[in-house]
């Protein structure tokens, strides 16, 4: 897998600092899972966090802090549940534990499925399937959007994306992705709601899909 498109430094730094929302975190993890280069970059940012932690001036703890911690060491372990395999073996490992909703028709050759994160039910995460040589309607985004290509690929004004690539877009991008000859399956998360421009968007909004 030759990965050409990666999350920006901003995105990885926010991931390292724990400042990305649950949905963006999940999609970033899907990329990190397949991209050693980004795992190394993330390692540097986390090491920055580690160095900042290590050089903090010590703060005064509660007088009983150490005794309290000792008393809790042997308490109930963190709950470990058996691994839940993703519903579909095509799906990346990071979707383990997620609930993949039914597939909705969203236009010619386009289907999407809402992904529910039990640990963050408010997260806006979706799987999007675009049939071969189909285009998604032009759209912009209200805020930060991350899209990880799981299978196939697409092209838009910013380049050609294949399996393993991540599109890291903000609210300045207006794009119309075209799926390649294989079609495209991707995992996307939004910081804000996606805005569909044009009649289909209005129709979707009326149906309450967005």
């Amino acid at each position: 897998m030759s990965i050409q498109h990666h999350p920006t430094d901003d995105t990885l730094l926010r991931f390292a600092a724990g400042a990305l929302n649950a949905g963006l975190t999940l999609v970033t993890e899907a990329h990190l899972h397949v991209c050693a280069q980004c795992r190394a970059r993330l390692g540097e940012f986390e090491a920055t966090g580690g160095a900042l932690l290590d050089e903090q001036p010590p703060a005064a703890l509660a007088p009983t802090a150490f005794a309290d911690v000792l008393a809790r060491l042997d308490g109930p372990a963190v709950a470990v549940r058996p691994p839940v395999p993703p519903a579909n073996s095509d799906m990346p490992a990071v979707l383990a534990g997620c609930e993949i909703g039914r597939w909705w028709w969203l236009g010619r050759g386009i289907r999407y499925s809402q992904v529910r994160l039990p640990w963050a039910p408010e997260a806006n995460v979706m799987l999007l399937r675009v049939a071969a040589n189909r285009a998604v309607f032009p759209h912009t985004h209200a805020a930060h959007e991350l899209t990880q290509i799981l299978r196939g690929g697409y092209s838009d004004c910013t380049g050609t994306y294949g399996p393993g690539d991540m599109a890291d877009a903000d609210d300045t991008l207006l794009h119309q992705p075209w799926a390649d000859a294989e079609g495209c399956l991707c995992l996307a998360a939004l910081e804000g709601p996606m805005r569909l421009d044009g009649w289909l968007g209005r129709w979707q909004r009326r149906l309450g899909l967005y």
């Binding site: 600092a17 290590d54 703060a59 703890l61 802090a65 309290d68 000792l70 809790r72 470990v80």
Partner: protein, 195 residues
């Protein structure tokens, strides 16, 4: 009955633990559930963890609780620490970050602990290397300009998008982004990493 750790209470003040010592002590906790080693780690990390969270704007009580919970997870997850992958302070940072982030915390409850345990007897070389890397990072941070350091700290301490950092510093967003980019480039150069 006396508290099990009464004799270990880490009150006397000594020099902070260096990175290699931190890694060795975590190894002892993993290998022997060594409470003496844990006491030394507690003494080093717990007050710094609390300080870190206070700086991020948490209340005294919340920062104290996060510091304590982080130390408890350090004890329980010690076998997963691999000095070949990350320095000890970096590993502790990721634990506490995940506890602070609400969605990550809830996920820990349902976490699929599928990762293999690290080799409990980490090689002396891995511990040494992890200490060296931590030293390089410390040096790289110290070499940043005041402005660059400020944006990096705000990225970690203020749980906010860069637009909010820009507002806090009364700077245009573009300036904040380019400062962060420059600071990251300098850290990367100092670590001798690939661009």
């Amino acid at each position: 009955m006396a508290l099990p750790g009464a004799l270990l209470t880490p009150v006397e003040s000594t020099a902070p633990l260096d990175a290699a010592a931190q890694a060795r002590l975590i190894g002892l906790v993993a290998l022997n559930q060594d409470r003496q080693a844990f006491a030394l780690l507690f003494k080093h990390f717990a007050p710094r963890l609390k300080s870190f969270h206070l700086r991020a704007g948490l209340s005294d009580a919340a920062a104290e609780e996060l510091a304590q919970e982080t130390m408890i997870l350090l004890w329980r997850k010690a076998a997963r620490f691999d000095p070949a992958c990350a320095g000890a302070a970096t590993w502790v940072f990721t634990i506490t970050r995940n506890l602070r982030t609400d969605h990550a915390r809830r996920r820990i409850q349902a976490e699929v602990e599928a990762l293999p345990e690290a080799d409990p007897a980490a090689s002396a070389e891995a511990i040494y290397m992890s200490g060296e890397r931590a030293e390089m990072m410390r040096g790289a941070l110290a070499a940043l300009s005041t402005e660059q350091r400020r944006v990096i700290e705000l990225s970690f301490f203020a749980d906010t998008p860069h637009a909010a950092i820009a507002t806090a510093l009364h700077l245009p967003l573009g300036t904040v982004k380019s400062r962060i980019r420059l600071a990251l480039a300098r850290l990367r150069d100092a670590l001798g990493a690939e661009p």
